[in-house]
């Protein structure tokens, strides 16, 4: 069992309202039961006078609250990353500023951390009393990556300190945090949480959820091809280029040998367009490779679990107490 000296709670605040206080007290009450010190790090994404005022009042009242504020909004991912950098605890919670899950279930999350590096709180609607079916997004992700997560986008999570230290999320990536952790070799599990407030279904203007589709493509690219963009671009580029080349050759041969005219129809324009598009995709992919090469020394491909030095005599047998003898990866 892991030792916990300090529990960190990172709360990214993306909407300005004063009702962060009631949620804070519920969280504080539940986590306080462990008898360990708890630190709360509220990251305000942009100027938020109401929330800032409420939190400052808490802080002045002696509560263990740290308030970080962005001058302009940078998004939830940036807020999380900053919060992670400030977190000093052995375990790091991410929680919502308003209560979305029953706080009494948080200890279950912490217990599950004994066998995992990151535990995601799977939101379960209480009124129906049964886990909801995986949503379209989760189903797509699970098929693409061979995972079996049911609520990837849940914002209630708890992780070991090294997960928080290694994860850097930006843009939309806070939505895929469990996937990023999985990709870095951390063990991820889910625990059911009775949800008091399910996320509202968004109004859709199009039959296909475009932003969801983009997110899925982005995360697929990010996890599979971050350091080998040309494997991705090259496949498309060469396919289009080859089609275009075959088509063009056929048209030119047909014109020269059989005298089939090329005017009055767009065939040759179309085939040339495919060649051009193919070359463009390939060029962009190669530029991507140059960027990857340029930064190759900054992005490590591997994640070290531990290094066994010659001087170490005794060794950890179980995964649980690696902390003593192992040298964890350089941050």
């Amino acid at each position: 069992m892991m030792r916990i000296e300090l529990i960190s709670v990172v709360v990214p605040v993306t909407q300005d309202n004063g009702d962060v206080v009631s949620a804070y007290h519920s969280y504080r009450r539940v986590l306080g039961r462990y008898g360990k010190p708890v630190e709360f790090i509220y990251v305000l994404d942009g100027p938020m006078p109401q929330a800032a005022q409420a939190l400052r009042a808490l802080k002045n009242g002696g509560e263990p609250v740290e308030i970080l504020s962005f001058a302009t909004p940078f998004g939830e991912s940036a807020a999380l990353t900053v919060g992670f950098r400030h977190a000093a605890g052995d375990v790091v919670f991410t929680l919502t500023p308003r209560i979305e899950v029953a706080p009494d279930a948080l200890p279950a999350l912490l217990d599950a951390l004994a066998t995992a590096d990151l535990v995601v709180g799977r939101r379960v609607a209480t009124n129906r009393g049964q886990p909801q079916k995986p949503r379209k997004f989760e189903r797509t992700i699970n098929v693409l990556f061979g995972t079996s997560l049911q609520d990837i986008r849940s914002r209630v999570r708890v992780m070991r300190a090294e997960v928080a230290k290694e994860l850097t999320v930006y843009g939309n990536q806070y939505q895929f945090l469990p996937l990023l952790a999985l990709a870095q070799g951390f063990a991820v599990t889910e625990v059911d949480l009775p949800s008091t407030r399910m996320p509202p279904r968004l109004q859709r203007f199009l039959p296909v959820d475009v932003s969801l589709l983009l997110d899925v493509v982005t995360v697929y690219f990010l996890l599979r091809f971050l350091k080998k963009p040309f494997r991705f671009f090259g496949g498309f580029g060469f396919a289009v280029l080859a089609l275009g080349a075959v088509f063009t050759t056929y048209l030119v041969l047909a014109r020269l040998v059989f005298g089939i005219p090329l005017v009055d129809r767009p065939a040759l324009v179309l085939s040339t367009l495919m060649v051009v598009l193919g070359i463009q995709i390939i060029s962009v992919g190669l530029i991507g490779e140059i960027v990857a090469f340029t930064y190759a020394k900054d992005i490590r491909d591997y994640r070290v679990d531990r290094i066994v030095e010659p001087t170490t005599v005794e060794l950890a047998e179980e995964k649980g107490d690696t902390a003593v003898q192992s040298t964890l990866t350089k941050a």
Partner: protein, 320 residues
């Protein structure tokens, strides 16, 4: 703590081989009189490779074991070994006992002769022809495209000067292209024939999807090599070709315009415009690559310094 020689072995599901390998390496290096360390990199094995490594004696020669949290690939395992190695000379080899540690003294001899990189050549390869033949084609192609003719890029048994290899960016599956990537620093490369044994335990970890990957990676390496010397050249060539095509089509359409009814020239005019736009696109990409080069140039300094250090060097490998 520095040492003279580091032997780096990436291991992936090699539980039967680990102790044999360790014994073979120890036997090979004991008579050398060098301060040697062995670096085993367990690339997220699913079997008991790591536990077997722990059971080995970790002194004389010193043994360090790096365990990955998950499988990251052979290149990453090699890079981890290279990053953590403390020797002045680094040797990499496969963990499947197909390389023979008894060849190590030959590599050291070459390094002492002044070579920066010594590449093994499995001249008598003990594999099925279905693996040997594609490999021969690939090696020929790699030599042609990268300009570094190595007979056997796939042989993991190589020796490097630490200062050379630690500065070369290696990622993805570039372990097949180490000599080509190393040519950034203009090293002196030697090739020597090595012994090769058939696989005794475990399964080979390669598949046929390699052909596409090698092809694509080769183009990548070629681009990177030409970019780091003359950024923008390859895009200049694309722009020039497209511009040439555009001009030809434009002339053709003008000629058609003069000779035939108006509609006959429409197709060639359109194609001229298309190719012209490609040419402009490539020019802008060339500018973009100049921008990347401008921000990245300080990262290339290690290679430049290496080249300055040894002005008489040649990237032509000699066969010794």
């Amino acid at each position: 703590m520095r040492c003279d020689l580091s032997i780096i072995v990436p291991l992936y599901n090699e539980e039967e081989n680990v102790h044999l390998l360790h014994a073979a390496i120890c036997a090979a290096v004991q008579s050398l009189g060098l301060h040697t360390e062995i670096v085993f990199v367990d690339d997220g094995s699913r079997d008991r490779t790591f536990e077997r490594c722990l059971a080995l004696p970790r002194t004389d020669p010193t043994l360090r074991v790096i365990k990955f949290r998950r499988n990251a690939g052979q290149t990453a395992a090699m890079v981890a070994g290279i990053d953590h190695a403390r020797g002045d000379i680094l040797i990499t080899m496969d963990g499947d006992l197909q390389n023979d540690p008894r060849d190590i003294p030959l590599f050291l001899e070459k390094i002492r002769e002044g070579y920066d990189l010594v590449v093994g050549w499995r001249h008598d390869r003990q594999d099925h022809w279905s693996r040997v033949l594609p490999s021969k084609v690939a090696n020929w192609l790699i030599g042609k495209v990268t300009g570094v003719p190595i007979k056997d890029n796939g042989c993991s048994l190589k020796a490097y000067r630490a200062e050379l290899i630690k500065n070369i960016p290696l990622y993805n599956e570039m372990h097949r292209f180490i000599p080509a990537m190393a040519s950034l620093a203009a090293p002196r490369i030697a090739q020597i024939k090595v012994r090769h044994h058939p696989r005794r335990f475990g399964k080979s970890k390669y598949g046929f999807s390699r052909i596409y990957k090698v092809f694509v990676d080769l183009l990548t390496i070629r681009t990177i090599l030409s970019f780091s010397r003359r950024p923008g050249t390859w895009l200049g060539i694309v722009a020039g070709l497209a511009g040439g095509g555009s001009t030809i089509c434009l002339l053709l359409s003008l000629w058609l315009l003069a000779m035939e009814p108006l509609r006959h020239s429409v197709v060639f005019t359109s194609i001229s415009v298309l190719l012209g736009s490609l040419s402009i696109f490539a020019l802008f990409l060339a500018l973009l690559s100049q921008l990347i080069y401008g921000t990245a140039v300080k990262r290339f300094r290690p290679f430049l310094l290496m080249s300055v250090r040894a002005p008489e060097t040649s990237t032509r490998p000699s066969l010794g």
